[in-house]
Amino acid sequence: MKRISFWALSTVSAVVLLFSYHTSTAGSSGASTSVHSQQPVVSSTEPTSTATSSATSSAGTSTKKSSSASTARTVTGSVASTQWGPVQVELTVAADKITKVTVLQYPSGNGRDGQINAYALPILTKETIASQSASIDMVSGATVTSGGYLQSLQSALDQANL
């Protein structure tokens, strides 16, 4: 996989940091782990150290970027609870580099809790509304760069009431 070299970004410690950042229950430093007891995370605090492995190891996910000096192993992240549901990522690590990222769990279900009435369906306008219309507060459009801003609707709104 071409992507592999791209994800070969980091030492394992950064990965732990990544997960702890998401769960916010872990320690503040990337040097330690223990996020959720049922979802252990492998920790390796230095690029040169061998992992204090408490999780899965040496899966058969060999990759062409794997260093000849080491075998690939997998690190399963804790399940991060997001607004959309659980997210869990598995990393393949070789020579202290991430060689593959696999998303094990991702949000696919109900994200509607508490969203009732928070927003509605867009209403198609029967007549085109001009930019300075008082019936809208803000404008959403394809990305407006600074260069295009002067022609934009949002500019008109902003200038109408700065």
Partner: protein
């Protein structure tokens, strides 16, 4: 004052604009703290968050963390944790879009270029909007180049009315969506030419003129609007598989359709 054409007078909307990350950042506040010192402080905090994100993630800055990471000069451990967070979101987005969203693209020499800017804007604005969480009884709408976050905290407020720009006639509105708490993002080619390409083929999508997605989190609706735009004729089916969203698809022929609950 923009109350002229309204049947029911509303509290005055106070607006501020600043250029950050090469795009206009527009803020609208209504209610108790719309124009006091606390609003000023929150605005400065929000802008600082956006500027900080730009320093870390700008692909236009050769010295940004993301540029140095992309060149292999540093690794993820040397980056702020936000970089790992954004790259994880990127990976989830690539997975959920079947490859229609990808922060990696082929560079001119065939090498892989890391460009998470398709995520960073929405993600950063969502973070920046939190700067206003402490303003009690105050409605907030924060927009970065047409992608925005709405909060409604003012008692009796009707929330925000967001106009969706007509991609074929900038300066006109094709639909209006009422939003109390949520985010709105639109992707298309309207203002910046052929910027969005299909990462699977390199082609510029041409079936749609724009896609607007409304949902709870700007990070995700921004990604989803981009994915849907790339998917073209398959956009509606894909969007309907995303829970809790509404929005608007404007086709290349000018016809428009809403989707969602």
């Amino acid at each position: 004052m923009i109350t002229a054409e309204l049947d029911v007078p509303r509290p005055e909307t106070h607006r501020r604009v600043e250029q950050v990350m090469g795009m206009p950042i527009s803020l609208a506040l209504r209610g108790r703290h719309a124009c006091d010192d606390r609003a000023d402080r929150a605005w400065h905090v929000a802008l600082a968050i956006l500027r900080s994100a730009d320093e870390v993630f700008s692909t236009y800055r050769p010295d940004s963390m993301i540029s140095r990471l992309g060149r292999g000069e540093i690794d993820l451990a040397e980056c702020p944790p936000e970089v790992a967070e954004v790259l994880t979101i990127a990976e989830v987005a690539r997975h959920e879009s079947g490859g229609a969203f990808d922060v990696e693209r082929a560079g001119p020499d065939g090498s892989v270029v890391l460009d998470p800017s398709g995520i960073v804007k929405g993600w950063a604005v969502e973070r920046a909007a939190k700067a206003f969480d402490g303003l009690e009884d105050t409605d907030v709408c924060l927009s970065a180049g047409g992608d925005l976050v709405c909060r409604t905290r003012m008692p009796g407020s009707d929330g925000w009315r967001i106009g969706i720009e007509d991609p074929h006639a900038p300066g006109r509105i094709v639909a209006v969506v009422p939003v109390r708490d949520g985010a709105v993002a639109t992707s298309g080619l309207a203002h910046r030419g052929a910027h969005i390409t299909d990462p699977r083929t390199g082609a510029v999508p041409d079936a749609l003129a724009s896609v607007t997605v409304v949902g709870p989190e700007l990070t995700w609706v921004d990604i989803e609007a981009t994915v849907a735009f790339v998917l073209g004729r398959d956009a509606r089916g894909w969007l309907e598989g995303r829970p809790g969203r509404s929005g608007l698809i404007v086709h290349a022929d000018g016809s428009a359709e809403t989707f969602g609950q």
